[in-house]
C-alpha cells in the first residue's frame, strides 16, 4: 500500500515535518531488523516524542486503516518490526528520558526508548541492580525488552523482563492512553494487563513509559567454567545442581561447535577437546557465592567433568561471560548467513533436545551449533549457511520447522525469549492449539478493532 499525501500531512502536523520520512532512501534502512532474510519496506517512518503524539498517530491510523509497526532498536530476531504490508514504522528512540530512579521504593520509571544498558547504569549509580540483561543490552530499548519479554544470562535466578515490570503507560490502537499497574509489587485490582502487554510484541498497544522493579546490587559476582565430554554429561550435572537446591544466577552451555567458534574468534583459552562446557555464575555475599560455586564445581566433577575452573578475578569472570555473549557473532563469522533460533524445553530434557537437533541437522545436511541457558532449558540452535545458497537456506528452514515441532513434543515451546514476530507465526498454532489461537485473536480485536497495530504478527 502507499499512504495518501493527506495522511502524510497529518503525520507532519502531529510530530513536526522533521520527524516524518517518506522517500525511498529514507525508508530502506527501516526495511529490516536483526532477523536475517526478512525484508519489508514501510511507507513512512515517524518519530513521536510523547504518548499524546503516539495517540494521535494511532487514531489517524485506525481511522485510515494504516498499519503501524512499533520499533525500538530493531534488534529483535523474529522479524517483529517487519513492515511486510507497508504502513508506518513508529520509532520510539526519541523517547529516552529516565524519569526517576528511586532507591527507597526500589524502582525506576523510564520512557520506552531508553536502552537497557542506560537503565542498568542509572540504577547502578544508586547501588541498584536492573536484573534482566539481554545480550543486546547496549542497543535494545526497555520498550522493546518489555514488548518481547526479553531474557538474559541471569534468567535462572532472576527470571525475565516480565518479573520486573510493575506498570506501564500504553497507547491503544484506538488512541486511548492507559496506565496499567503502578509502583507496587502487590496490586491485584483487575485483569493483569501489565502482564498481557509484556510480551505482546507491539500488537496490543504502544508502550511509552515503563516502571520497573530494581534490586539491591549484589555485593559480589563470580563465574566458573566446567568442561564435559558430552552435552549429555553437562545436562546431568545441571540436573544434579538444581536437585541440590542451588539456584545460581547463571548456568549457560556451549556445545563443541560453539566452543570452537568462540575460541577461534575471541582466543579466551577455552578447551577445544571438550564436548560441551557449562558456564556457571552467582552473585550475592562473597562467602555464599564461593560456597555455591564450589558446590557446582564438585557436582560437575562427580558428573564426569573433565575440568572445572573458577575465575580468579573479575576480569577473568567477565572474559568467561563474554565467551557466552559472543557465541552468536563468533558463529556468524563461519558463514555469510546466520540464523539463530530460540526454543525451550523442560530442563531435564535439554540433552535429549540437543541430541535431536543434531539428528535433524544431519537429516537436512546443514550445520547447526547450539548454545543457551542450561538453567532454564532455553536453547539457541544456530545454523550458518552460505547466503547465496538458496537450497541450503531452504533446508535450514525445514530443519528449524522440525526443531520447533520437537520442542513442543518434549513439552517445551517455540520461543523462550525472542518472541514470535512474523518469523515464528507459522509455528504458533502448533504450540497453542486452535482454541487458544482464537482467544488470542479475540483479545487482539478487543484492543485493536481495525487490526492496524503490527499486523501479521502475534494475534493475527
Amino acid at each position: 500500500m502507499s499512504l495518501g499525501q493527506d495522511v502524510i500531512v497529518e503525520l507532519q502536523a502531529i510530530v513536526g515535518s522533521d520527524h516524518v520520512r517518506t522517500t525511498k532512501g529514507d525508508l530502506e534502512p527501516y526495511a529490516r531488523d536483526a532477523t536475517p532474510l526478512f525484508r519489508g519496506v514501510p511507507d513512512a517512518v515517524v518519530w513521536p516524542r510523547t504518548a499524546e503524539e503516539v495517540a494521535a498517530i494511532l487514531r489517524l491510523a485506525t481511522r485510515r486503516g494504516v498499519p503501524v509497526i512499533p520499533r525500538g532498536a530493531g534488534s529483535n530476531l523474529s522479524a517483529g518490526t517487519l513492515a511486510d504490508r507497508g504502513g508506518i514504522v513508529l520509532v520510539l528512540t526519541r523517547m529516552t528520558t529516565i524519569l526517576e530512579v528511586d532507591a527507597d521504593e526500589l524502582l525506576a520509571r523510564v520512557e520506552a526508548g531508553v536502552t537497557t544498558a542506560a537503565l542498568a547504569e542509572a540504577a547502578a549509580a544508586k547501588g541498584l541492580l536492573y536484573a534482566p540483561d539481554p545480550g543486546s543490552r547496549t542497543v535494545s530499548t526497555v520498550g522493546g525488552n518489555v514488548a518481547t519479554c526479553a531474557g538474559g544470562l541471569r534468567g535462572l535466578k532472576y527470571g525475565v523482563t516480565r518479573n520486573y515490570v510493575l506498570g506501564a503507560t500504553a497507547v491503544l490502537p484506538t488512541g486511548e492512553i492507559i496506565r496499567t499497574g503502578g509502583r507496587l509489587w502487590k496490586d491485584v485490582a483487575g485483569y493483569d494487563l501489565t502482564r498481557l502487554l509484556t510480551g505482546s510484541e507491539g500488537t496490543l498497544g504502544v508502550l511509552t513509559e515503563i516502571t520497573v522493579a530494581l534490586l539491591p546490587m549484589p555485593a559480589t559476582t563470580n563465574t566458573g567454567v566446567a568442561y564435559f565430554p558430552s552435552l549429555a554429561d553437562a545436562g546431568r550435572a545441571v540436573t544434579a545442581v538444581i536437585a541440590d537446591g542451588i539456584v545460581p544466577a547463571t548456568l549457560e552451555f556451549l556445545d563443541a561447535k560453539c566452543i570452537g567458534a568462540v575460541e577461534d574468534y575471541a582466543h579466551l583459552g577455552l578447551r577445544r577437546d571438550a564436548g560441551a562446557l557449562l558456564l556457571f555464575g552467582d552473585d550475592g555475599h562473597a562467602d555464599a557465592v564461593s560456597r555455591s560455586l564450589d558446590r557446582i564445581g564438585e557436582l560437575s566433577t562427580r558428573h564426569s567433568a573433565l575440568e572445572v575452573t573458577l575465575a580468579p578475578d573479575v576480569a577473568r569472570s567477565e572474559a568467561l561471560l563474554a565467551a557466552r555473549r559472543c557465541a552468536l557473532p563468533a558463529l556468524s563469522r563461519l558463514g555469510t548467513l546466520t540464523i539463530l533460533e530460540d526454543a525451550t524445553v523442560p530442563r531435564p530434557r535439554l540433552a535429549e533436545m540437543v541430541g535431536r537437533i543434531d539428528e535433524i541437522a544431519g537429516r537436512y545436511d546443514v550445520s547447526i551449533a547450539t548454545f543457551g541457558h542450561a538453567g532454564d532449558g532455553n536453547l539457541h540452535p544456530t545454523c550458518v549457511v552460505d547466503r547465496h545458497d538458496d537450497a541450503a537456506a531452504d533446508r535450514a528452514h525445514k530443519a528449524f520447522g522440525d526443531i520447533f515441532a520437537t520442542a513442543i513434543e518434549l513439552e517445551g515451546t517455540i520461543t523462550g525469549e525472542h518472541g514470535v514476530g512474523a518469523a515464528k507465526l507459522p509455528y504458533l498454532q502448533a504450540r497453542l492449539g486452535a482454541d487458544q489461537m482464537a482467544l488470542l485473536r479475540r483479545i487482539k480485536a478487543a484492543f485493536d478493532p481495525a487490526g492496524i497495530l503490527n499486523p501479521g504478527k502475534l494475534g493475527s
Binding site: 532512501g25 534502512p29 529490516r32 532477523t35 517512518v45 542497543v139 552468536l328 546466520t338
Partner: protein, 368 residues
C-alpha cells in the same frame, strides 16, 4: 547497477545493531539511516539496484558519515566498515558529484612539486635521506604545522627525512578515489626507507592498509615500541600540567592504538580522562570543510567536556584533529590550548615552549 560491493564485506553484517550506540551521526539524528547498520542497508540497496547513487538520501549519507570507524571495534561480526565506505564513495563521488573542496585539496596534495615548495617555505623537519626508520612529513601537516615534524625529529634524531616525499593518499582514499589513494601510498612507501613513522593517525591507518601493518608506526606507537622514555615535565603556573587526549579515530579504531599516547602523556604531565575523548571531533579529514555545520555539532559537546575537565592542554595525534580543536577552542576563547603530542613531549624535554594556556580572567570577562 548491481554487485558493486565486495559481497564478502557486505554480507558480514548481521544487522545486530551493536554499532548504533557508538555512531556520532546516529547520536545526532536518531535515524537508522544515519547509523552504520542503516548505511550498510543503503549500500545493500545500491548493490541490488533498489536505490541508485542519485537517491538524495544515499547521497546525503555518503557525505554525512564521518568515516570515523567508531563502528568497527564494537562490531561483533568484524564488519570492515571503513573499506565499505571507500567503495561507496568511489561510486558516489565521481565526476561532477565530487565535492569541489575535496577535489581541490586532493589535486593539490597529489602534486609533489607543490608539496616540495611548501617544504621550502614552511620549513618542516629535515634530515638525511636514508636510515632504518624514516619520518613522514604529511601533505597538509607540512604546511599547517611544520613544527610538529621538527618536534618529532627532536625526539627521534636518527630518523631519515627524505625531502622529496609525496602525500600518502589517505585524503583520496576517503574521498572517492581509493585507487589513486592506494597508488600514492605505494609510491610514498618507495620514497621512504624502512619503517615509516608518522605524526598523523589518519595517515598511519591508510598507509598501513596499503604497505602492511609492519612497515608503519604512528609516533606514539613507535616511541613506546622502541622503548623511548619521555623525559622532563610540562609545567603550567608552577605545577604539573593537566592534559587531555583526543584520540585519532583512525588510529584508535583502525589500528587499535590508544594506550600508547596516554602512557606518554602520563609520563610528562597529569593525564585527565574526558568523557567522549575516544569519539570523533568532527574534523574527519575534509569533513569540517565539506560539512562545517555538522562538524561543529559534533565538536561542541566535546569542547564543553574538555573545558569542564579544567585541563591546560588537549593533545591531538593527528593534524586534522589538531586544527579542528585549535579552531574550536580559539573561537570560544577558551583558556585550553590544543597541541600535538610531538610538541608536548618535545616541550617536556625542554626543547620547545608550548603556548601558555590563556588566562581565565578572559573567560570571566566574556561571561560578564
Amino acid at each position: 547497477m548491481t554487485n558493486l560491493f565486495d559481497p564478502e564485506l557486505l554480507d558480514r553484517c548481521i544487522s545486530c545493531g551493536f554499532c548504533l550506540p557508538t555512531c556520532p551521526t546516529y547520536a545526532l539524528t536518531g535515524d537508522e539511516g544515519s547509523s552504520p547498520r542503516g548505511r550498510i542497508n543503503l549500500m545493500r540497496a545500491l548493490d541490488t539496484g533498489v536505490l541508485d547513487v542519485d537517491d538524495p538520501r544515499v547521497k546525503e549519507e555518503a557525505s554525512f558519515c564521518l568515516g570515523c570507524r567508531a563502528c568497527e571495534p564494537v562490531c561483533p561480526a568484524g564488519v570492515q566498515y571503513g573499506q565499505l565506505l571507500e567503495t561507496w564513495r568511489d561510486l558516489q563521488w565521481t565526476g561532477r558529484n565530487r565535492p569541489v573542496i575535496a577535489w581541490a585539496l586532493m589535486t593539490a596534495a597529489a602534486r609533489t612539486s607543490l608539496l616540495r615548495l611548501m617544504g621550502l617555505v614552511r620549513r618542516p623537519a629535515r634530515g638525511p635521506a636514508t636510515a632504518a626508520t624514516s619520518l613522514m612529513l604529511g601533505c597538509f601537516e607540512r604546511g599547517l604545522f611544520p613544527g610538529v615534524s621538527r618536534a618529532a625529529r627532536r625526539l627521534l634524531p636518527g630518523l631519515a627525512v627524505p625531502a622529496d616525499q609525496g602525500c600518502c593518499g589517505a585524503l583520496h582514499a576517503h574521498n572517492g578515489q581509493s585507487h589513486e589513494g592506494e597508488e600514492m601510498a605505494r609510491r610514498l612507501g618507495e620514497q621512504l626507507p624502512g619503517v615509516v613513522v608518522t605524526t598523523s593517525g589518519g595517515c598511519a591507518a591508510h598507509l598501513a592498509s596499503v604497505l602492511g601493518r609492519d612497515r608503519v608506526q604512528e609516533l606514539s606507537e613507535h616511541l613506546v615500541a622502541t622503548g623511548v622514555t619521555p623525559t622532563g615535565e610540562v609545567r603550567v603556573d608552577g605545577r604539573r600540567a593537566r592534559v587531555a587526549l583526543q584520540d585519532s579515530c583512525h588510529l584508535r579504531n583502525g589500528l587499535g592504538v590508544s594506550a600508547q599516547p596516554r602512557a606518554l602523556i602520563s609520563a610528562v604531565a597529569d593525564l585527565v580522562a574526558v568523557p567522549g575523548e575516544a569519539s570523533c571531533c568532527g574534523a574527519a579529514g575534509t569533513y569540517s570543510m565539506l560539512r562545517p555545520r555538522d562538524s561543529r555539532r559534533i565538536l561542541d559537546p566535546k569542547l564543553d567536556a574538555v573545558e569542564a575537565a579544567g585541563v591546560d592542554y588537549v593533545v591531538a595525534v593527528n593534524p586534522g584533529c589538531l586544527r579542528q580543536l585549535d579552531t574550536g577552542l580559539r573561537r570560544r576563547r577558551s583558556r585550553v590550548r590544543a597541541v600535538h603530542l610531538a610538541d608536548l613531549l618535545a616541550d617536556a624535554a625542554g626543547g620547545q615552549a608550548l603556548p601558555r594556556p590563556r588566562r581565565r580572567a578572559f573567560r570571566a570577562f566574556r561571561a560578564g
